[in-house]
């Protein structure tokens, strides 16, 4: 790309700035240094990388900081290819913009464990391109054409011994074109990727300096809480505006479509105002919806034929001819994301622009939402992503964006919308509940010949991206079933879509953790029926030397699967393949006569390709065990009277310290492309525990959360 901007005098502001196209197929990098230097306005970085004359290197990260470590991992990849001095790296959160869109999915978002795996080539190329420009700059400055140029620790070094730091080369480098295909390092040459690094965002988090979305403020901002319908489809019939306005600090009561916003100078006043509003609601669209009716509806759907999500071979024939067949059903509840930081969004709508500050996982969607509501073009919607207090998939939803934009328009001032914890549980887009039935057949050698699996579950895709629902099949609802890591000659997978007013959304690992419970528990039941060791049975259905085969083998080796189990304890395993990674878990449990389960130890093995940032992978894996166990033991959203009954953490306990076992994490050595991490570490946790409980007690728990009463003896 050529730029016609006249180069101005590069004063002290000069730096090398590299930007990238969003639609990077082929990948295109641009040297935007002249644009930056010529700009009259404060520099709005639509770049990945800036190298300044004082040697500091700034990396802008467009991914949401949910605590997963990508705000250190992404700079690590760039810095490695750049041969930068790690100490000179600064990371800044990027505003929403084209360069930060996902190169494959063409939107800026954080989800699907894509942050590094979708940018593996892009990030390395950005670093490598800048490095090559600096080498060329050194050759020019030194007037050398011969000899060998190398780079190390932020310096270009010539074979004759001279060296220059990157900062001293910036003025020359910024006049060079960006090389198109800079050579990338071989894995053996990595100096930063795969090493231990302190996370760059941790000191501020420890000192209490991090400003999360809920903490964000600008002068003149007011706070809004919104009274939302307590039953699905309900509308307000009356409310007491006068009473609410009598609360000290109230600004305004603003009725919206099916909800009423209460705006005040402080959060507490807004919450008090909402309490005194005394809204009367209609009964809603399905007042008889409750736990029992929901359960019955799923059961009913499981009797329907369903859409065919996969068929191979002849399942019916294979089942008829099998030496042994077994059939079982599994059941999972709706789950809340329950992130620590409640949902929030700050917006300031002005005549020429709209600014939004939000801990969002979907920046591009946020821009579109605000553009539609304000009539402003996309580029006039500035979205600043704040650090998020957890997200797990929920923070892509647009409700707080809609409300804050509408209210800022209505009040002509900045507005921060905050959900209370009760709002958060009542208005979550839950992980879909699911019921399934599996029938499988074993041959005379105890090998699987047929697997027939029917799932009844609501569809996330049907709401968010209906174009991906084909022939009645939501791919996420059957993920981990039709692509399970086992080869079985005859398979049939059916899906029955359950339509309820309960909204469902993406929840860490999406369909994989839902379906892994059934698939991996049932594999254990089959191993038992075949009289085989659970690890050996699984391996017998995998291609020897394949990545799932190897990760399960690594788990068995590191976890001591074949070593004696401590007295009174039992072990169980499970394995899963998702988001271009492979993970397996081993649980070591004991169960007493009262049915109390103690998980003593969890071992996780993960093959995520090149392990970019091992410390973050271990942290994610530990968190994955905690979250997976939390779903196994505690989590369940309850419904009554056509709405959500679960109100707060006292109704929705999550795993706490005394229940957290010793956790061991083993990362497979690999030079392959980086895979996902945050999600692959979840699915095999709950089934590993269920399988260990079976081994300990002979009782198979086929429902989440575990019903401990089934384990009581005598």
């Amino acid at each position: 790309m050529k730029t016609d901007i006249t180069r101005r005098s590069f004063l002290k502001q000069s730096s090398l700035v590299i930007a990238v196209t969003a639609f990077s197929s082929p990948l295109r990098l641009f040297n935007v240094s002249p644009v930056k230097a010529a700009s009259e306005l404060p520099f709005k970085p639509h770049a990945f990388l800036e190298i300044a004359t004082d040697d500091t290197i700034t990396v802008w990260v467009g991914q949401t900081n949910l605590g997963q470590g990508t705000h250190t991992g992404i700079p690590m990849v760039i810095a490695d290819e750049l041969d930068a001095d790690w100490e000179s790296i600064r990371v800044k959160p990027a505003p929403a913009g084209e360069p930060f869109k996902d190169p494959l999915w063409h939107a800026q978002f954080t989800g699907g464990s894509t942050s590094i795996r979708h940018r593996w080539d892009l990030l390395r190329t950005v670093g490598a391109a800048a490095r090559q420009m600096l080498v060329e700059a050194a050759a020019q400055q030194w007037g050398l054409t011969a000899g060998q140029f190398t780079t190390e620790n932020g310096q270009v070094v010539h074979s004759d011994g001279r060296r220059l730091s990157y900062g001293k080369l910036v003025e020359t480098a910024q006049k060079l074109p960006v090389p198109e295909n800079p050579p990338l390092k071989q894995a053996g040459d990595y100096r930063i990727i795969g090493t231990a690094r302190e996370r760059l965002d941790i000191p501020d988090k420890v000192m209490g300096k991090t400003v999360y979305g809920i903490d964000f403020t600008v002068p003149g901002m007011c706070i809004a809480v919104v009274a939302r319908p307590p039953h699905y489809g309900a509308s307000y019939q009356s409310y007491d505006e006068k009473a609410a306005m009598a609360v000290k600090g109230m600004v305004k009561v603003v009725p919206l479509e099916n909800r009423i916003a209460v705006c005040a100078e402080t959060t507490y006043a807004a919450m008090q105002g909402r309490e005194t509003l005394n809204v009367k609601w209609s009964k809603g669209s399905q007042p008889d919806l409750n736990d029992d009716t929901v359960d019955a509806l799923f059961k009913e759907h499981l009797e329907k034929l369903g859409a065919v999500a996969k068929t191979s071979g002849d399942v019916k024939k294979a089942l008829a001819e099998a030496t042994q067949t077994i059939e079982q059903s599994y059941k999972l509840p709706y789950l809340s994301h329950a992130p620590a930081e409640p949902i929030n969004c700050s917006a300031h709508v002005e005549k020429e622009r709209c600014r939004i500050w939000i801990p969002t996982q979907r920046q591009t969607a946020t821009q579109h939402t605000a553009s539609k509501l304000t009539g402003l073009p996309i580029e006039k919607v500035e979205v600043m992503t704040t650090p998020a207090g957890g997200g797990f998939g929920l923070r892509g939803e647009q409700d707080p964006v809609v409300d804050s934009v509408l209210l800022s328009k209505a009040l002509s001032r900045p507005v921060k919308v905050i959900w209370s914890r009760e709002d958060d549980f009542a208005n979550d887009y839950f992980r879909p509940a699911s019921q399934c039935r599996i029938k499988a057949g074993l041959d005379k050698d105890g090998l699987l010949v047929a697997w027939s699996h029917k799932v009844a579950a609501p569809s996330v895709m049907n709401r968010l991206m209906p174009q991906f629902v084909k022939n009645g099949v939501d791919p996420d609802a059957v993920s981990g079933i039709r692509d399970m890591p086992y080869s079985i000659p005859n398979q049939l997978v059916n899906y029955v879509m359950v339509n309820l007013p309960i909204p469902v959304g993406f929840w860490r690992s999406v369909g994989f953790s839902v379906n892994a419970l059934a698939v991996e528990s049932f594999m254990d039941e089959l191993a038992h029926a075949a009289g085989k060791d659970p690890v050996q049975f699984r391996l017998a259905h995998m291609e020897k030397g394949s990545r799932p085969y190897n990760i399960l083998s690594l788990l068995a080796e590191k976890g001591g699967w074949n070593r004696p189990v401590p007295n009174g304890r039992a072990r169980g395993v499970a394995v899963n393949a998702c988001f271009e990674s492979f993970a397996a878990h081993m649980a070591e449990v004991s169960v007493n006569k009262k049915g109390n389960i103690t998980v003593h130890k969890m071992v996780c093995a993960i093959d995520c390709g090149t392990a970019v940032y091992p410390d973050a992978i271990r942290a994610q894996a530990e968190g994955g065990v905690v979250m997976g166990m939390s779903t196994a033991f505690h989590e369940r959203v309850r419904f009554e009277n056509g709405g959500v009954k679960t109100a707060n953490y006292d109704d929705y306990p999550v795993l706490t310290m005394s229940e957290v076992p010793e956790i061991e994490v083993h990362i497979a050595k690999s030079n392959l492309k980086a895979g996902g991490v945050g999600e692959p570490v979840v699915p095999s946790v709950a089934p590993a525990v269920a399988n260990a409980i079976f081994k300990a007690t002979g009782v198979r728990l086929r429902e989440l959360p575990f019903q401990r009463e089934l384990l009581i003896k005598g």
């Binding site: 302190e198 941790i202 988090k205 420890v206 000192m207 402080t266 620590a340 968190g623 706490t656």
Partner: protein
């Protein structure tokens, strides 16, 4: 943020991190919202509002308390400590960085303050004591294993340096 209340109303003085601060708020306002909205101390986090999660924990006269259920009027004579009130080289802060505890980090200030309380009573806690004492705080990211390590590390540091 502090304005003179011309009606001669509710100016209340509280002592936060060793500094006297005047607040214009109703006496029954939860301390959480006074700290966050009136005084701008946003390291004190709102999560559940019903004393269930422990994330809004502050120290009141050295004792870990949930600021969402403590009223402003009840702390006028007290010393309130938030995470900013601990020196940067406080063993708990050093340990939290050394052991790389936070993921999203949202719950950590409250959990660190509860740790300060724990270590003041039990300078060398056993694993069981850590489990008991820290069982009523929520961390949704699952940083528990690292919290345990950091608590032990902070205890060791305090013992060494004669805290």
């Amino acid at each position: 943020m502090i304005t003179l209340n011309v009606k001669g109303g509710n100016m209340i003085t509280i002592n936060v991190n060793g500094t006297k601060r005047q607040v214009d708020a109703d006496p029954e306002t939860p301390l959480l919202w006074v700290l966050r909205d009136n005084l701008g101390i946003t390291s004190v986090k709102y999560t559940c509002g019903i004393a269930e999660c422990g994330i809004c924990t502050v120290l009141i006269d050295g004792e870990a308390q949930r600021s969402c259920v403590v009223n402003l009027e009840d702390v006028q004579e007290s010393n309130i400590t938030t995470i900013e009130g601990l020196p940067e080289d406080h063993p708990v802060k050093v340990a939290w960085i050394e052991k790389q505890v936070p993921q999203c980090g949202y719950c950590q200030p409250g959990i660190m303050l509860q740790t300060v309380d724990l270590l003041s009573r039990m300078p060398n806690p056993t694993d069981e004591q850590i489990n008991d004492e820290m069982d009523n705080v929520i961390c949704r990211c699952g940083s528990h294993p690292k919290i345990k390590k950091a608590i032990r590390f902070a205890a060791e540091m305090t013992a060494k340096h004669g805290g």
